[in-house]
Symmetry: D2
Subunit: 394 residues, 4 copies
C-alpha cells in the first residue's frame, strides 16, 4: 500500500503550514461580520489586546492582513530610511533574504554572514557595531527555518540596545513555540505570525513595534502609507472607534482569536515545554538511526523544527516523496541553499506532540532505508521512545 | 426590545463584508495542507483553472493573498511605468482613490471626474483619448461601491481598446453579481475578489491579466518583484510544478474553491438574476417610502448594492445605529465624500435574496421614521412585495 | 424567478426542525471523544448539570439519545404500571397521541378531549379527578404543536398535585421559548428537547424526573431496563464515575452544550421575550391580512409557533408549496386532524426574530393571494411592522 | 510531562467511538433542513440508496435514529415472535448479550457459547440445527468487539440458510472495515452503524432486512409499531413521498452522507486493505514486545480492533490511565467478562492507518513497562515498522 499524491497525506509534519488546531478550524467558520459593525470593531480591539497579552509587548501589536512575509517586507519599507546604514545578520536563507529587502530602502547594508548550519555570535555583532557606529538598524532571524537553527536574539538584542541601534527580529517560526519575546530581545520591530506555533492557517502577521521604532517610522518620509506595506495605516486601527485602512480578513481573525485563547489557556510555558520535548525526542531518534542533524551544534537546533542532513548522494526531494508515499507523512524540504540537502520535521502547534516525533523518525528512517541509505530505523524508534519515557519519568 | 451593540446583528445586509455562504464557512475549516504537498499544489492549479472558467479570461488568473485593495495597489505598481500618462476615471470615491495610487507610479495622471451620483460617459472618454494620444493606461471602477453606481465598462473598454490603451478595471463589487467580465470589457487588468458577490470572507483577490498587460508589466523595470505588491511573482505559481513566492492563504483558498463550485453549479445567469431582482425590489420599496436613491439615474444603480440618499438634516450614521438597534439589521455607511449622506444596502452573494430586500426596506424606513423623517414604511413594504410578486408572475 | 424544490429553501421558518444556531452548528464538528475517556465523562457530567440549571429541576435531568418522541414513549413505558388508571388530556394531535402510548401500559386510560383549537380547562380536570380518585397519572401537552395552542400546565399541575397524582408533561416545543418549567408545573416527568427553541438539530431529549416519579418508576416491575426505552438505565449515567448504558451521541451532546451556553448567556427571560415578540408581530400581520388564527382564542396561541387557518377551499399543502416556490420560505403543514387545514410558522431558537415574522407574513399572504384567496398582503406587512415598532418604542 | 485527564487526549485509538473523518465533522454543521422540506425528503431518499449501494443489499436499508444498540434491540423485538425458538451464538460479551434481548421475545432461546477468546464453529451450528429443527432464528455477532474476535458469518450464514432459518447479524464494528456484507452472510437482518469503520459519530444505525425477514416481521403481531423500537414504521420512510414516523436526526444524516461518499470514493477494497494492514502491524508489534493477543488464534483477530491480553497481575484500567497520561493515547477497556483483562486498540475509519498502530504499540508497551511489566518496547516498535515496510515493499 502506497499513499497517492492525489490525496492529502495522513500526517502533515512540516515546518509550516501545519494543520490548524481543531478549535481554530471551527472558529474560521464563524458568521462573517461587517468590519464596521460595532460588534466587530469591539472584537478587533479585544483581539489586539489579547495578542498584546500573549506577546507581552508594551504597545498594542499590529495585526496585518497577510502572512509574515508581508510584515517583514513592510518592516523594511517602514523603518529603514534612505540615509540608514543597516547591519544584516545572516545565518540562513531567511536572514540572508531580509538583507535584500533592507537593501531596497537603506543607504548601505552591512552583513555578518556565517555558515547556514551555525549561529550569529553576539560578540561579533558587538565588535562590528563598535567599529561601525553609523549602523542604525540591525536585522536578525530568530529561527532560520530553512536551516532549523536559532540565533540568540536576547543576547544580540542586548548588544544592539547598548549600541543605541534598533533591532528588527523575524520570530515567525519561533514565537509561540519557545521562550522568545519582543521584550526579552529588546526589539524595535518583532515580527511573528499565527501560522506556525500558534496553529492557525497562514494569512496574518503579528508585529510588535516599540515606541522608539514608531518614532523612527514616523520620522521616515518614505514610510509607506495608503499601502499594503504600511505599518502606519494600521497603528490605531485596533481601537474600536477608528477606521480600518482596508477590510481585515474577518475569518482569519476569528481563527486567531480561538488560537490565542487556546495558547493562553494551555499556558505558554506548557506550550513551550511541549515543543521542546517533541524536538528533543525527534533529535534523539534521528541521531540514533545514524543520521546527522543539520545544525553544527545541537545547542542551536530549534525546538520548533528539526532539520536533518541528508546522507551523501541522496536527494532530499526523493526522500520526501518516498516518505509520503510509504507512510503518508508529509515533511518539508529545505529552501535555496539548503534545498535538497536537508529535510525538516516541524514541531509546531498541534504537531508539537511527542507522538508525531516518533512517527516522523520512522518515516524519515524508513524512506531513507528504502532508498538504500544505511539507517537503523529500529534504533531510531527505540531512542525516540526511550527519550520520551525518560522525560516522563524525570 | 432593542438589539445591543455588543452582540452580532441578526441580519448583515451590508455592501461587504457580507456573511459567507454556508458551504464556504464549512470549507474554511478544511484540514490545512502544506503548500508544497503535491495534493495542495494540484488543488491550487485546479482552483486557478476553475477561477478562470468563472471569470472567462484567456489566461489563468492570479489569485493574490490579500483582499482586493492589494490587487489594485499592485496593479498600479506593476502596470504603470515611470514614463506613462494615465487617464483616471472618477465617478466615486473608489475611482477617485485609484488615481492616487496611479500618481505614485505615473509620469502624469489625467482625470475625468463626474459627480459621485453619476457615471462616466464613454463618449467623453473617447474625446479625451482622441485629444490625448499619449495616454497609455485608463483606469475605471465598474461599481463604485460608496455610491452604489455603475460605470459601463464594456463601452468604456471598447473606446480604450480603439485608442490602443490598456484598461485597468476595478470590478470588485460587481463581478459575480451581474454580467461583467474581463473579456466583455477588454480589460488589461481586471481586479475582483471573492469577498463580495461570490460570498467568501475578505482575504483574497482575483485578477485577470491580458497578454498585452503582461507584456507591459514585464517591460516595466520598476514592476515589483519579491514583494507583496508583485504580480510577476505569482504569474506561474498556479502550475503545480512551480513554487509559491510565499505561503498562500490555505484556508481562504479552500473557501474560494467551495464558492466557485457553488457559483458554477447555481449558474452565473441565475446568480445575476437573483442579484438584479433583489436590487429592483429594494429600489421600488425605497422609492415608495418617499426616499430617493443616491444614483441620479436608476439606470446606473448597481444590482449589488442600493445606495439611499438621506433626507436633509438626517445623519446616516445615526440611522444606521437606529436600524441596527431596532431591527437587528446592519447596513453600510458611505465613505469619504458620501459618508453621512447615504446608506447602502448590499445585495451580494447569500444576501442577494428578495426576502432580505423586504427586511432592509422595513429597517431603513422604520429607523428614519423613528428619527422623525417623513417616511411611509407601509407603502415601502407594499411596493417591495408587489414588485417581487410581479416578477414571479411575469 | 421561482425557487426549485431540489435546492434548500432560503428561509426555514418551520415549527421544527429549524436551523440550528451557528454556534451549535460549529460545535457539532468538535473532535469526537471516546465516551469512556475521562475528559468526556467529565464533560457529560458538566453538561447534565448545565441542563439542570437551564431546566431549573431538582434532580439532574436525563439526556436521552433520541429526539423527544423517544422520551415520551419511554415516559409512558417507565411510569405507567399495569394497574394504573391514567387521565389523558387531549387538546390536539400530540396530546391525543400520547394517550395511545399510555393505553399500551395502563389498566385504563380516561380522557378529556376538547376541540383542537381550544385548551384544556383546569377546572374540568379538577372535577374529573374529584370524581375519579383512582387516577394516578395525568398526561398533558404544553404546546400542542400541530395546533399551535397552549395548555396552562402550571394551573393543571396544581390541580394534579392537589389530587396526589403524577403529571407527565410534553413541553417539547414550548420549553426554552417561553416561561415554563418542571418546577412551575409540578411535573413528575417533564419532557423537552434541544431541537426546538434551544436551536439544536433533532437527536436528543431532555427529561426532568421528580423524586416521586422516580419512586414510582422504580416500583414498576415492568419499567424498561437494558432498553432504548429505559429511563432507569440512564439515571446515574450523568456521574463521571458511572458507565453509560450504551454509547451517547457525542456530536449532538457537543451541540447541546453550545446551545445551553448560548441560552444561559443570552438570558432565558430575554430569549422568551424574543419569542413572544416575534409571535405577536406574526399574529398581527396574519390578522391584518384578513386571515384567521387557528386558535379559537389568541390567549392560547403559542409564542413558539403561529398556526394560521386556511381559507375555505384552499389546501394548506398547495399554499406551502407556493410559498416555498415564490419566496424561498419553508413553513410547516399541520398533522393528522389539522393537516391541510392550517399552516404553522415557527418562532423557535434562531428564527424567533421579528424580521422572520415579517418575511413569513409576506410569504403566506403572497402565496394565498397567488392562489386566489382574498388577502391584503400589504395590510399584513404594515401591521407586522407597526406592531414591531410599537413594541420597540414601548 | 504527563497529559491531564481534564483535557482531551491527543490520540483517540479506541474501538469506538473514534474521531470522525474531517469531511464528516464539517458535514455535521450543514444548515439544518425541515424534515418535510422537499429538498430534505429527496436527500433522505438519495442517502438511503447510497447506503444500499455501500451495503450491497437487495432492498433499501433502514436508517434508524439511534446508535446500533437501538437497531439490535429493535431487531429482536421485531423479528422474534412469541412462538419462536432462537439459537443464540455467543463467543463474546456482545453475542451473549443479544441472547437476553432474544429471551424477552422468544418462546425459548438455545445457545451455543464458546470461550470468549475463540469463535463459533459453523459445523457445531450445523449439528445443532440438524438436531433442533424447531429453531427459526439464529443470532450471531460478526466482530465481538469486547474480545476483538471474529465469527465467520458467511459460513454460519450458509449453514443457517440451509436449515431454512433466519440469521440476525451484529456487524456493527466489522462492516465498512473488512469484507462482510448482508449478501455474503445471507442475513435476514444485518445491523451495522456509521460510528465505527465508517468514521461518523455515534447516533444512527444501518439495517439491511431481507424479503424473508420483512415477511416474518409483518406476520409478527407483536412487532413494535409507533415506537422507537419499530422497524416497520421506517420501512417506507426512505421514499421522498412518504412521511417519517418521527423527526430524523438531520445533522447526523448529513454526516453519514459525507461518510458514504468518502467510503465509495476511496473504494471499499482499499478501505478494507487499510484496516487489515493497520491491524497486522499492530499485532506484530504487540507480539514482538512479548505480549499476547487476546484471541486464541490470530486467524480470528479482527482487522478493526486488536485486543491485547494483560500480563498476570496487571489491571487493564491502570494501564489505560498510564498510557493516556504518559503518551496522550486513549485506548479501550474490555467489557463485562473481558473488563480488566485486556485492552483494545481500535483500527476504525480515520484511525485505520499504520502510523497509529505504531503509536499504539509504543503507548501500550511504554505504559506496561512503567507499571513493571516485562515488555520490550523497542522490539515492538521495530517489528511494527518492519511489518509495515515489508507490506509496502511486497
Amino acid at each position: 500500500m502506497r499513499y497517492p499524491e492525489t490525496k492529502p497525506p495522513v500526517f502533515t509534519l512540516t515546518a509550516g503550514p501545519v494543520d490548524a488546531y481543531p478549535e481554530v478550524l471551527r472558529a474560521l467558520g464563524t458568521t462573517v461580520l461587517y468590519d464596521y459593525d460595532p460588534a466587530f470593531q469591539a472584537f478587533f480591539e479585544d483581539l489586539t489586546l489579547k495578542a498584546q497579552e500573549a506577546l507581552g509587548c508594551d504597545l498594542p501589536p499590529l495585526i496585518l492582513q497577510g502572512e509574515p512575509v508581508l510584515a517583514l517586507e513592510a518592516a523594511a519599507a517602514s523603518l529603514i530610511a534612505k540615509e540608514d546604514v543597516v547591519l544584516n545578520l545572516a545565518s540562513g536563507v531567511y536572514g540572508k533574504g531580509f538583507g535584500y529587502w533592507a537593501a531596497r530602502y537603506a543607504r548601505k547594508v552591512e552583513e555578518i554572514e556565517v555558515p547556514y548550519d551555525t549561529a550569529i555570535d553576539p560578540e561579533q555583532v558587538r565588535d562590528f557595531l563598535s567599529s561601525h557606529p553609523e549602523v542604525r538598524i540591525v536585522c536578525v532571524c530568530n529561527h532560520d527555518t530553512p536551516s532549523g537553527t536559532l540565533n540568540d536574539i536576547d543576547a544580540i538584542g542586548a548588544v544592539v540596545a547598548e549600541a543605541g541601534a534598533l533591532l528588527i527580529v523575524d520570530a515567525v517560526s519561533s514565537w509561540g513555540g519557545m521562550p522568545t519575546s519582543p521584550d526579552s530581545s529588546q526589539a524595535g520591530i518583532y515580527v511573528t505570525g499565527p501560522n506556525k506555533c500558534l496553529g492557525c492557517p497562514p494569512a496574518l502577521s503579528l508585529v510588535a513595534v516599540s515606541e522608539a521604532a514608531w518614532a523612527k517610522i514616523e520620522a521616515n518620509p518614505d514610510a509607506p502609507f495608503a499601502s499594503m506595506l504600511s505599518f502606519t495605516d494600521w497603528k490605531n486601527a485596533w481601537k474600536k472607534t477608528e477606521p480600518f485602512p482596508f477590510t481585515p480578513s474577518v475569518a482569519e481573525l476569528n481563527g486567531l482569536s480561538a488560537a490565542l485563547d487556546r495558547y493562553l489557556d494551555e499556558g505558554p510555558e506548557q506550550v513551550w515545554a511541549r515543543h521542546a520535548l517533541t524536538a528533543r525526542i525527534c533529535r534523539e531518534g534521528i541521531k540514533a538511526m545514524g543520521l546527522e542533524l543539520w545544525a553544527a551544534s545541537e545547542d542551536i537546533a530549534s525546538p520548533t523544527a528539526t532539520a536533518v542532513k541528508m546522507p551523501t548522494g541522496i536527494d532530499a526531494g526523493v526522500v520526501l516523496g518516498e516518505a509520503r508515499a510509504r507512510y503518508g507523512v508529509s515533511m518539508s524540504a529545505g529552501r535555496a541553499e539548503t534545498l535538497g540537502k536537508l529535510i525538516r520535521i516541524g514541531h509546531m502547534g498541534p504537531t508539537a506532540q511527542p507522538g508525531y516525533a516518533l512517527l516522523a523518525v520512522g518515516a524519515m528512517g524508513g524512506a531513507l532505508k528504502a532508498l538504500g541509505a544505511d539507517v537503523d530505523v529500529a534504533a531510531g524508534l527505540a531512542a525516540a521512545q526511550a527519550t520520551w519515557d525518560a522525560e516522563i519519568d524525570a
